[in-house]
Structures are given as structure tokens and as C-alpha cells.
């Protein structure tokens, strides 16, 4: 079934266009890396603030809530640019084990982010530096960094 889907995707005019346009893939990859910057930098900042290792210019819970907007915006751009990269080379990417692992990590990260958003919202009065916040911030950061690493290894992994 995956093969039928891959063939259909590779036959779309968008896929053909991206493959035949020399600059489309490096541009999409560059956008993908820049959007990764929004997610990784913000995740580091959330983690460092929650652990009190970074001076916060505002209340920690406000800072975290503001950071989530950057993370979500980054993820939207990552999904769009990533989708274009998959459409461009579905035969290489969709069966790739590292890509599949990356998508699994992404689903986990999205679930974790939802959990953390709700947690911060509920705990906003108390500042958000509880043990729960520390666990969620660390888990999100580690997961995002693991997703970045998996993304880099797609080029080296087999199917």
C-alpha cells in the first residue's frame, strides 16, 4: 500500500516540478533548518528558564506561554517545508527507517507539547517552575534535539 502511495506522490506535478527545479530542494531544506532554529532555540530557553539557569525578563510562566507560540509557528513551517521535501523524493524518504523514527518522535513531541501547554496554563499562578514543569521542559528539549539528529541521519540511513 505504501508503494502505491509513493508512486502516486512521485507522479504528481508538484513532485515533478521540485525534482526538475535545481534550487527547490536546497531552498526547502534551508527553510526547514531556519524553522528548526525557532524550535530548538526556544526549547533551550524554556528549559534553562525553568531550571533557573537563565535570567528571565518576565514571569517564567508568561515566558513559557510566549515561547510556545514560536515553537508552534516553527512546527507549522517545518511541516510545510518537510512535506515538500517528502513530495520531492517520496521513494527515498518515506521507506527510510530514520524518517519513520523521526515522524514517531514528532507525534510524541506534539503530544508532549499539548500536555505542557495545558500544564503551564493550569499552573500559571504558581510560576511554572515545579518539578512537573522541569520534567516536561527537559523531555520536550531532548525529544526535539533527537528529532533534529534523526533528520540529519535520514541521508545516511537505509530503508
Amino acid at each position: 500500500m505504501l508503494d502505491t502511495f509513493i508512486d502516486a506522490l512521485a507522479a504528481t506535478s508538484l513532485s515533478q516540478w521540485v525534482q526538475s527545479t535545481g534550487w527547490a530542494i536546497p531552498v526547502a531544506q534551508s527553510v526547514h533548518i531556519l524553522a528548526t532554529g525557532a524550535v530548538t532555540a526556544t526549547s533551550w530557553i524554556v528549559c534553562l528558564r525553568v531550571f533557573g539557569l537563565m535570567r528571565s525578563p518576565e514571569a517564567v510562566s508568561d515566558a513559557i506561554a510566549a515561547s510556545f507560540r514560536w515553537i508552534y509557528a516553527g512546527i507549522v513551517v517545518l511541516l510545510l517545508s518537510g512535506a515538500l521535501l517528502v513530495i520531492a523524493e517520496p521513494r527515498d524518504i518515506l521507506p527510510n527507517r530514520m524518517f519513520q523514527l523521526k515522524m514517531l518522535g514528532l507525534l510524541l513531541a506534539l503530544a508532549l507539547l499539548q500536555l505542557y501547554s495545558r500544564y503551564v496554563h493550569r499552573k500559571s499562578e504558581s510560576g511554572g517552575t515545579s518539578r512537573g514543569s522541569k520534567v516536561l521542559a527537559t523531555a520536550s528539549l531532548v525529544l526535539f534535539l533527537a528529532i533534529v539528529v534523526a533528520g540529519r541521519w535520514i541521508a545516511y540511513a537505509g530503508t
Binding site: 535545481g22 530542494i25 536546497p26 531552498v27 531544506q29 534551508s30 533548518i33 531556519l34 528548526t36 532554529g37 525557532a38 524550535v39 530548538t40 532555540a41 526556544t42 533551550w44 530557553i45 534553562l48 537563565m54 535570567r55 528571565s56 525578563p57 518576565e58 510566549a66 514560536w70 534535539l145 533534529v148 539528529v149 533528520g151 540529519r152 541521519w153 541521508a155 545516511y156
Partner: protein, 164 residues
């Protein structure tokens, strides 16, 4: 094109124990590349937060000085990691990279971004702590815009190294 002394240095670099170990290993190159991506995305992302504030496009209620104080240690730590990992990747094929146009332009843009930051810290941002919260001076907006353009260019050129 690079001079003979630069090429001689690059050839020496390629034959150091570190370079040959990385080049001959199946996993070291992608592992160092992964560290480089983590470091550079953290550098660019944390700098962009300051740039967007300088352009008054985000966090307008927070003084610029407090955003810089908070993010600068993270930016520097990630920059050091990016330089070390980048130098190790460079060493594996120094003669190839030094003649690769996107790589050369990437180094030039990083140098320009450094000069832009230096001018901001020494001239434009000297009275940073006296700025009103709402508005940033035009020179600060220019520094923010230049920084965003230069770092975006650095990422694009870095990605282009593999395609050149």
C-alpha cells in the same frame, strides 16, 4: 582561489589524526554534523529573538537589554559548539571546502555578522539601557535587519555547500 600556503595548511589539516579518524568512521561525520545542526539552529534561533525585538516585531513590552542579557550566554555557548563541530567537519576535506564557493561565502557572511554585532555592541547599543521600552532607534532596527539577513544567508549557503 586560495594561495599555496592556505592549500598547504588544508592538506596538513586533512592528514591530522582527528581528520582521518572522522573521515574513516561510518558514524563520526554524521554525528558531528548532527551536533553542528543543533548548535547552529540554536545560534540562529536565539539571535533571531533579539533581532525581531530590535525590529519591534516581537516582545515589545520587554526592554531590549533584558532580552540580550538573557539570550547572549546561550548564543555564545552554541556558537562555540558550532565552530568546534564545523572545524572538525572542515578538517575531513579541507582542500575541497576551501575551494567550494558557498563555503567561502558562508565564512564571509559570518565575518560580516560578527562586524555587525561588534558595531551594535560598541556604537549603536552603547546606551542600550536608556532606550525606551516601546521604540528602538533606527540604527538598532538596521542592525537587527542586517543580522537576520546575514544569518539566514549563512544557513542557506551552509546547505548549498553539499549542492555546489
Amino acid at each position: 582561489m586560495p594561495g599555496p600556503s592556505v592549500l598547504a595548511f588544508c592538506r596538513w589539516l586533512e592528514h591530522t589524526a582527528a581528520a582521518t579518524t572522522i573521515a574513516e568512521s561510518d558514524w563520526l561525520f554524521p554525528a558531528i554534523e548532527s551536533l553542528h545542526v543543533i548548535a547552529l539552529t540554536t545560534v540562529v534561533g536565539s539571535i533571531a529573538l533579539v533581532d525581531l525585538r530590535l525590529l519591534s516585531l516581537s516582545a515589545r513590552r520587554i526592554p531590549v537589554s533584558r532580552i540580550i542579557d538573557a539570550t547572549l550566554p546561550l548564543t555564545w555557548a552554541a556558537f562555540v559548539l558550532a565552530v568546534i563541530s564545523g572545524a572538525l567537519l572542515f578538517a575531513t576535506d579541507a582542500t575541497g571546502y576551501v575551494e567550494n564557493p558557498p563555503f567561502r561565502y558562508k565564512m564571509l557572511l559570518i565575518a560580516c555578522a560578527g562586524v555587525n554585532m561588534l558595531v551594535f555592541h560598541l556604537v549603536t547599543g552603547r546606551r542600550l539601557r536608556e532606550w525606551s521600552t516601546e521604540h528602538t532607534p533606527a540604527a538598532a532596527k538596521l542592525a537587527g535587519a542586517l543580522s537576520l539577513i546575514l544569518w539566514t544567508g549563512t544557513v542557506v549557503l551552509g546547505r548549498w555547500i553539499a549542492f555546489a
